[in-house]
Amino acid sequence: MDRDAYLDHDPDAGFLEPDRRLSQDQRAELGLGALVCVVVGLLVALFVFVLREAWPSFAHNGLAWFGGGGSVDQQLQAISTSGDLKHAPVYTFHAWPLIWSTIVITIGAVAIAFVSSLFIAVFMVEFAPPWLRRILEPVVRLLASVPSVIYGLAAVLVLVPFIGNHLITQNEKASVTPTIQLSGSSLLAAIVVLTVMIAPIMIAVFADGLRSVPRGWLEGSLALGINRWRTFWKVGVRTARPVFVAGTVLATARALGEAVMVSMVSGGVGFAPNPVDGLIFFFEPSRPLAATIIAFTEELSSPPMKHTLYAIAAVLLFSSAMLSVIGWAAKQPMRRYGLVP
């Protein structure tokens, strides 16, 4: 009824309608639609504004922006001070150490969190005794909502000193002293805390997906004499595969964008940890992209620095948008089964 009225309302057909005043429903629909358009417009504006501010930095560096070469911290220093001087602003910026640090920390945390979350979600949904399940579910929700700065505080006060005092030997500290200092703020600390931070998000999404697997599919397998673990692993987990991708994508986006906590524990040095160093690799300090923005916010008043920071933000924005697209695509098969609303 009113739907058809709305359909007829486009400029070509609408004039034939006898009553051209908008009904209450149509007004509500238009109002809500406008609200939706505003939010979509805000997101578009987000992309446009950030990319526009970022453009000078990309334009001056070209693809070398993503490459290595020179010390990032010195480059940032030069960019920042050039804003105050009268001569041409400096834009030279090679972000590879920051990008590398982001990649290592994100992939490390997501990989560990994925494996453990998978097992924990399976355990929580299917194998935990009821009393334990009643504890686990609220605990997952609680940990997912603990502010990241609290994780950061705990890490800085407990984990970082522990790594610095017990896991790193004096010899290891001496071996890299001229270049960097191993104080405990390290890749390892960042990965561990980030894992604890994103695992609850993953578990919550995974568990939702596993719960939506139709009971009959599992019972069919059980009826054939397949044991419970095998049944759940082969039928349940396999059906929920798209949800695992979606949850992983969501958690990856959180890990990628986590700025404050990572800036507290990662060491805050624009250094690219070198895998050739062996085990020390994990003890080396670095600073990922998001943490770099936090570290230099006070220098936003220097125009070239501002453009550089927006360029970093643009990279983060683009990566998380891509992740969100992947997540959306991954959910489609699940939707086809009708398992996800």
């Binding site: 009113d2 987000l46 006060l157 983060l316 998380s320």
Partner: protein
Amino acid sequence: MTTATPTPARSTPKRSGSSASWRWSDRLGLGLAWFLGLLFCAIAAAIVIYFLVEGIRYLRPNLLVTNPAPGVSESQTGGFLDPLLGTLILGAMSMAVAVPVGVGIAVWLSEFGRPTGLARVAESAVEMLAGEPSVVLALFGTILFTVGQLGFLSQTSHGIVLGQSFFAAAAMLSLVGLPMVVASTREGLQAIPSHVREASYAVGKTKIATTRRVLLPAARPSVITGSMLGLGRVIGDTAIVLLLLGGTLTFQAANSTPLLGLLRGTGDTLTGYIYYNAPTGDGNQPSKAYAAAFVLMLMVLAINVGVDFVVRRSQRAVRWS
């Protein structure tokens, strides 16, 4: 081999076939699941208990009623009254925007959703918003609130708009909370079967009246749950507070107008205060950071208990069909 996983067999009383007869790889998997599940509980308990113990050790009542002050020793730097109020103000302001807008979007998506193209775009936009790093939103807010037209919402010094105010921070934080409200409300609306809507249409109610009088009241638990989850995200955010609220520890009102001056000025929240007082921050007074973290943790706990309560009550409520 049987000693590796002693407990699982007892945990499955419903079905026959203890895990003792399983293949070793299956038993290993089950053992790993038990181990990781218990480890997860242990880590969670460790974090919560650690903060409760440290918090109780350092929290003094006067910390809650005094303002942060410059100083070097613990007795000089005061408490965190302003950051605490800042968290409450910011939470209230952002939710005041996020809840109506979020419910509106959810209603449109679930009840109207035409043209389909716009619905699909809006859906992905909200999802994308949920994945955006808050530090990027903060930088976006910096652009948005330093342009001339919106400059009146924040403090100016010598004609330069700084773009830092409660308004700016709340606006961006509402974008952080929005996706949670939309997702939860939408789920709630979609869980209501269509015959409920049809019954309402059949007695002559318009679509919007149905939504307002039947659907939204029925979906209220979902709305509340989503709002609380969003609030949890909002009060836990630090990046936006540092960039858009200024992170100035105390309220720095823009002018002497009672409320508007305060909201146009800069301030701080508990998260900003914790960041400032962590060993990596400028304040470096861990005991104060612990106390503030304890208070923040209590807030998060309260929100979680609230969500639990709402969810549980709604499960007892009406079942359609």
